[in-house]
Subunit: 469 residues, 2 copies
């Protein structure tokens, strides 16, 4: 569908649904069509001219249903938008269409002991504010939790803070079910339990419209946030590793930043020297007594220490220096930087981290996050900062990591498969076939859709027949 | 000191302290000098004639201080007794003396968010009863938690229920500090923080008199207890392993029992066939939804299911079929059985378990407990049942395990070092030198004490100088 045809379809849809909350002013539509993909100079170029034709913010499921129905009728693409904190252009419309601002769906639907069910547009920080009084918090969340939406985490996120305990969001047990609207002429509402629900996870909203997500929660602790500094990189690594690996030391977050990354933290860097390496940890109050012992052992020094409550009140959590917030802080100081996403091997990550740091010197700067993998092993991911020169050199760097048995989850591509080492489960495409048979949800995003005839597809991967409708 | 000399010393001590709560009736003293070491036919024989000369149950720290002072004065050994649920004769006096029943010290001293400090003689179940209302429970405890004391767990225990999350009790962060009375002519009270406090852990009360233990706690979940059965042993193993390894499935306990062990559970075995293998799991309510999916995958069936609350009210928790309670249930049915304590390798425990089960057939029956090790790795321990023939054959079996790279923590020995592959930190002996310079706490128990001149001892392993007194 070319631009003229889309304009025509859009006009008809507007005419049919004038009562919706439309945004049509082109600069505003363009602004709303962006996320944080500009962290990547490659994506910045590739997605520069991509945007929606209009934005709608539905105020009810009925409004959304009417919009979906009418879009299907006129074959206009539809793209979902949460908090717009993604890093790979998850929400950027590749072939125009209507961007659906989901932030109107911001209610908690149910909160029982250890479980919350909420609407997709609710902000993650809002969920925590509502669950904390009963002793529960999110199991994992991105560093962007203040802005990020539940649907965005589900559709475009991986894990993050808390993954040191619960693994990635997609590990069995973290997500319990989703409620979905199909992209059909007569939209249906489906309740899909896990594990089938996970076929819609991390598909960037391209294979179904997620309305609600049911999550298992984590018990609240009295968290202490710390930033400790070290003159020696290996000492910092070993300190973080010792903390990560001790099953009796309760933590929520552990990250390691090689110099000069800590110097990019402009609100904190008065507390240490630019040459120092840092570990940010969020640890349970009852485990903090061991920090002084471990710091002594690894020649580290306390630089920042605050309770999570103090941090929250001051809007100054150290969690907002971790995961991809690190990249954001660095880019504010040096806009020539970009980043990698790497997954070290759980059996020898310590040596891999040291080797890769030695190999690239100042060109690739270590930012290492500790987490559990899907099999419960403690391991590490890198969100290394890269001094960007050319796309060719960036690809060369990534190849060197691959050749050293470090996986790359490429953040410089915008199609789903390319971020996952080129592969995706065929069932993810099958789900799109079930829930979006015309392929109208952000066409171009799921490459497997375009070659779906070559995949062996399951006609009913969600086990939908009569079960969950 | 021979029996006559001891009798004389005892008479003098009694004369000096007539107001203490003495037990002198020989059969009762003998009964109180026993624990569950009779699980081992070897220990049963070795410890048959060992017993205290008298028992005292102090009603206050002052009474205990007077007793210690007077025992030191007359050089009479002193041995500590908690709930008497140990399995290696931890409390059995090797050279007579006064057995100190610590159960009078049964108060909670302090309870704050995530931390409890309590007296050594309190029962573990009592601690949980008091911490649960504020949302906390024990991080790890033996299956004997209803009778076992805190001091007993600290002095003679390893971990158990909950170690799948927090590792052994000795992993950094689980124990925060201890309060100790020295065995000296003028007994001192010392407060010793971790990690130094751990030098008194698992030393069977032979290197100090622990009065209080401060523990970090775990947040309470709504636990569900399940016993699921499988026709195939490998299916049962893989089910338990999948549950253990999934970081998003929250659990407190996971154990695998090869047939015919489940048939020994006489209050449960109406729910399944004698040929079936079983997995007992204690899992968070919010994770239970995945059981049906995993059971289907591994061809298992639910046999028993109850909430922890129901179980507690009925005094019928499935936790009391795990760890060394398994051995107890089995011995009630077949008194010719005994058991092993094995530690599989975290990198290949699955294959080791299968190989050892194949190797020994019905002679050694798999009872496997899942846990985290000190480095946070998920691994397994075995408390295999053995059809006992001779001591020689038992040693042969243990050697075969060792030769297959499975560690043996030998439960058929009564000296501390022998249960730990023959080794112990020299600091443990140094602590005895500091806190029990005359070697009066259950002499004979810590073999290293007798060869202490050949060890390089640290004069102040507790960093006591001025710091904690």
């Amino acid at each position: 569908m070319d631009s003229e045809q889309r304009k025509h379809a859009l006009a008809l849809i507007q005419q049919a649904l004038p009562e919706l909350d439309w945004t049509l002013h082109a600069p505003k539509v363009k602004r709303l069509s962006r996320d944080f993909h500009w962290f990547s100079p490659v994506l910045k170029r590739l997605l520069e001219d991509k945007q929606a034709d209009a934005v709608v913010r539905p105020r009810s499921e009925e409004e959304l249903r009417l919009l979906v129905k009418t879009c299907v009728q006129h074959q206009l693409p539809l793209i979902l938008r949460g908090g717009a904190t993604g890093n790979y252009g998850q929400l950027v419309p590749l072939e125009g269409g209507i961007l659906v601002d989901m932030t109107g769906f911001n209610q908690i639907c149910e909160l029982v002991s250890g479980v919350v069910r909420a609407q997709a547009g609710i902000r993650l920080a809002e969920i925590e504010m509502l669950t904390r009084p009963s002793g529960w918090e999110l199991r994992c969340m991105p560093s962007t939790y203040r802005l990020a939406s539940l649907g965005g985490l589900y559709g475009g996120g991986f894990g993050g803070i808390g993954s040191i305990n619960y693994g990635p969001l997609g590990a069995p047990g973290n997500v319990l079910s989703v409620k979905v609207m199909t992209m059909e002429a007569e939209p249906r509402i489906l309740h899909i339990p896990a594990p089938q629900a996970l076929l819609l996870h991390h598909a960037y909203g391209s294979n179904g419209i997620v309305l609600e997500v049911e999550l298992a929660l984590a018990p609240v602790h009295q968290w202490i946030e710390r930033l400790d500094v070290f003159d020696d990189f290996t000492d910092a690594l070993d300190y973080a590793d010792a903390f990560a690996r001790s099953p009796g030391l309760v933590k929520r977050q552990l990250a390691l930043f090689a110099a000069p990354i800590p110097s990019y933290f402009s609100h904190l860097n008065g507390n240490y020297q630019a040459s120092q390496h840092a570990v940010i940890s969020v640890i349970a109050q009852e485990s903090e007594g061991f920090c002084s012992h471990l710091l002594e052992k690894y020649r580290g020094h306390s630089a920042v220490r605050q309770s999570a409550e103090e941090a929250c009140e001051a809007n100054a959590s150290l969690m907002e220096y971790c995961w991809n917030h690190t990249t954001l802080h660095a880019l504010k100081i040096d806009s020539t930087l970009t980043y990698l996403q790497t997954a070290f091997n759980y059996t020898n990550y310590r040596q891999q981290i040291i080797d890769m740091a030695d190999l690239f010197g100042d060109e690739v700067i270590s930012h290492i996050e500790f987490l559990r993998d899907n099999d419960g092993n403690i391991t590490t991911s890198g969100l290394q900062l890269v001094r960007y020169s050319t796309e060719e050199r960036l690809n060369e760097i990534m190849d060197t990591f691959r050749n050293n048995d470090v996986k790359i989850n490429n953040p410089h591509v915008y199609q789903i498969e390319d971020g996952k080492q080129g592969e995706i489960k065929p069932e993810v495409v099958s789900v799109k076939k079930c829930l979006d048979p015309k392929g109208l949800l952000n066409p171009g995003k799921l490459r497997g859709w375009d070659v779906r005839d070559t995949l062996v597809l399951d006609n009913d991967p969600l086990l939908l027949t009569d079960r969950y409708q």
